[in-house]
């Protein structure tokens, strides 16, 4: 559902899903293919109305798999493209997300997370897809996933998702959840946003290598048929020409580059918000909708004299391992709060490597995290009690 607003106004009340659609348009998205699924459908509904008005195109495909395929095709033909879905649809898209990784096709996949597994809870929130965002498709690959916690951030991070996908020739996963997707908030949309376009080839068509191993790990990308650049794209392991290869050294080189090109740029991709961490002895690690009750819990803990702070990753993948390790060396306890049973907590434990205590609070009953749940753990930690969670 969308709300009509005053024409020309930039301050609007809208949902996170609508802000995602607005962010996509601002970033230059001109093709959307999707399939209806709760709680993400508003993104498709807004774009079905808006895209034909800005010279773009919208299509509702026959299934989730087709939608993912169509956005890859559109991107190769030169247009910034996205799809949106939720848990079951995200599962269905995985094979073609892998194709986009392998063929290095920029595109954005929004996953407005709902309860799972399976059909789960279509209208209720969970954050159970964070690991699927990392490893949902088969084989080694780098991936970028972003997680907004508000309507305004849903706009901002959608723009960023497009920019990162264009810069690094990779699919970017945008992990909203049912709360961030459906909450209505006042938001001031910027007049103009900074956008990034994929880097085109410098060399003439006859010398163009669509999968050249460049220094920055990102091969220049031509557009199908534009300027005489005709090239081959395949999901098979390929060499720099884009054609399939069985040569061990070429296969190794490509597979390593697909991982390395994201790792190499991790500092530019990783984006954490540090909130009152300077003197904190207890840090809460929370992302997406959970970071908001987490912030309230930290404020309440501070009011009770406990030096608590919040570490909020807005980039979930690549994981901010060095930053979390550094955090672990400075605090006594990290409390990981998430709407799952500890998916990112494992990453946090691995990153801190025993340097501090890691406590987990998870919720999988389809309800929002409550500040009190997080505050309880902060207080237990402050009293020095080791908890089993």
């Amino acid at each position: 559902m969308t709300r009509s607003v005053e024409p020309g106004s930039t301050v609007r009340v809208m949902s996170g899903n609508e802000a995602c659609a607005e962010g996509a348009l601002a970033a230059g998205c001109r093709f959307y293919a999707g399939y209806p699924i709760t709680p993400s459908s508003e993104i498709a509904e807004v774009l079905s109305e808006r895209l034909p008005r800005v010279g773009g195109a919208f299509i509702q495909m026959e299934d989730e798999i087709a939608a993912m395929g169509a956005i890859v095709g559109a991107s190769l033909a030169g247009v910034k493209s996205m799809t949106a879905t939720s848990g079951p649809g995200f599962s269905l898209k995985q094979e073609n997300i892998g194709f986009a990784c392998m063929a290095e096709v920029p595109c954005v996949v929004a996953n407005v997370q709902r309860g799972g597994p399976s059909t789960g809870l279509p209208t209720m929130p969970m954050q159970g897809d964070v690991m699927q965002a990392r490893w949902g498709t088969h084989g080694d690959h780098g991936i970028i996933a972003l997680s907004p916690n508000s309507v305004a951030e849903s706009f901002d991070l959608t723009v960023r998702a497009f920019n990162l996908s264009e810069r690094y020739r990779t699919p970017v996963i945008l992990l909203l959840d049912e709360i961030t997707g459906h909450v209505f908030e006042k938001v001031r949309l910027p007049e103009k946003v900074e956008t990034v376009d994929r880097k085109g080839p410098d060399e003439p068509p006859e010398r163009y290598l669509p999968y050249r191993h460049t220094e920055d790990g990102v091969p220049p990308m031509a557009t199908y048929g534009r300027g005489g650049y005709r090239f081959h794209v395949t999901g098979l392991n390929h060499d720099e020409t884009g054609f399939p290869t069985n040569k061990a050294e070429e296969i190794d080189r490509l597979n390593r580059r697909l991982v390395w090109k994201i790792e190499k740029h991790r500092d530019a991709i990783i984006d954490n918000v540090a909130d009152r961490l300077e003197d904190a002895e207890i840090a809460v690690f929370a992302y997406g909708s959970v970071s908001r009750p987490a912030r309230l819990a930290v404020t309440e803990a501070r009011a009770r004299g406990i030096p608590a702070g919040l570490f909020r990753p807005r980039t979930l993948w690549p994981f901010p391992d060095r930053e979390v390790r550094d955090l672990g060396s400075r605090v006594k306890t990290i409390v990981v709060a998430e709407l799952n049973l500890g998916q990112m907590a494992h990453e946090v434990e691995w990153a801190v490597g025993g340097a501090c205590q890691v406590l987990k609070v998870g919720r999988v009953d389809g309800q929002a995290m409550r500040p009190a749940q997080i505050l309880n753990l902060i207080e237990e930690a402050a009293r020095g009690r080791t908890l089993k969670t």
Partner: protein, 274 residues
């Protein structure tokens, strides 16, 4: 006389197809059709899925996209939506298009998007080693139907027609010069078009079904081909065995990307009038 070389990536040869495979005959027929129409190589996109037939685009010097199993039409839809001026040809097989990709096949036909599908029907999954396909005739053997296929097979052309395709033709590699005319008409047709090409797989199908060598299999296609016009007068039992060839559907319907462009224009006019 078509200069095939101008359309081929000659450094990619020799091709991967087995001796006696019909796929090369289809490739040449496609190139003759493209040459007669005079399509600029930059303005053409060839999309395929997975299987023997789907390796065709790798040999053709146009914009080529070798996608995931069954999904060629979905990827092609994305290309066509943002480049309606491009000639988009999908190369697929009976397994790729009507088993794993069946949903995309029927919906693209219903939507009537201007994509030409050249479907190589060899009744078998060749690349994976001869498993039974939705086109394997009942009773025929496959590596996963060692006692013979128990299921009925699809009439693929009828499936496309039923789903709304505006142009449907069936031809065999036994008549390559007729085949290229069918493909030419399919590409020229505005809307979703299908050419179902019957082609032999001596390696994976013929061997198991004692269908003889490649020439005998091509002879089989020739002998069992019946022109559409004559098919109606055949006795019931012969019609079941027959490969009905020719243009089976050629109708007019609004094409999807043109419909979309019309929508965009009408919205622009609304804004201009305001």
């Amino acid at each position: 006389m078509t200069d095939y070389d101008q359309y081929l990536r000659l450094d990619k040869f020799p091709h991967i197809w087995c001796a006696g495979c019909g796929d090369g005959i289809v490739l040449k027929a496609i190139l003759r059709a493209v040459d007669r129409i005079g399509i600029d190589k930059n303005d053409m996109c060839m999309v395929s899925g997975i299987g023997c037939s789907s390796r065709t685009p790798g040999y053709v010097d146009v914009n080529t996209l070798h996608t995931t199993h069954g999904r060629a039409i979905a990827f092609a839809t994305g290309v066509k939506m943002v480049r309606p001026d491009m000639t988009v040809i999908v190369i697929t097989g009976d397994g790729d298009a009507t088993a794993i990709g069946g949903n995309h096949f029927i919906h693209a036909a219903r939507r009537n998007i201007d994509i030409t599908v050249i479907l190589y029907n060899n009744w078998i999954y060749g690349m994976t080693g001869g498993q039974v396909s939705p086109a394997t005739p009942p009773g025929k053997r496959a590596s996963t139907a060692p006692y013979g296929q128990l299921e009925p097979n699809f009439d693929i052309a009828a499936l496309a027609a039923g789903a709304g395709a505006v142009f449907v033709a069936r031809e065999t590699v036994a008549r390559p010069l007729v085949l290229d005319k069918m493909i030419e008409r399919a590409i020229r047709k505005k809307g979703f078009s299908l050419v179902e090409v019957m082609t032999p797989c001596p390696t994976a199908y013929g061997r198991r079904n004692r269908a003889g060598d490649a020439t005998e299999m091509v002879d089989f296609l020739k002998v069992h081909s019946v022109a559409q016009a004559k098919a109606g007068s055949l006795p019931e039992e012969e019609r079941a065995e027959a490969i009905v060839t020719g243009v089976l559907v050629d109708i007019e319907k609004p094409e999807y990307t043109e419909q979309y462009a019309r929508l965009v224009r009408s919205l622009d006019e609304q804004v201009a009038a305001r």
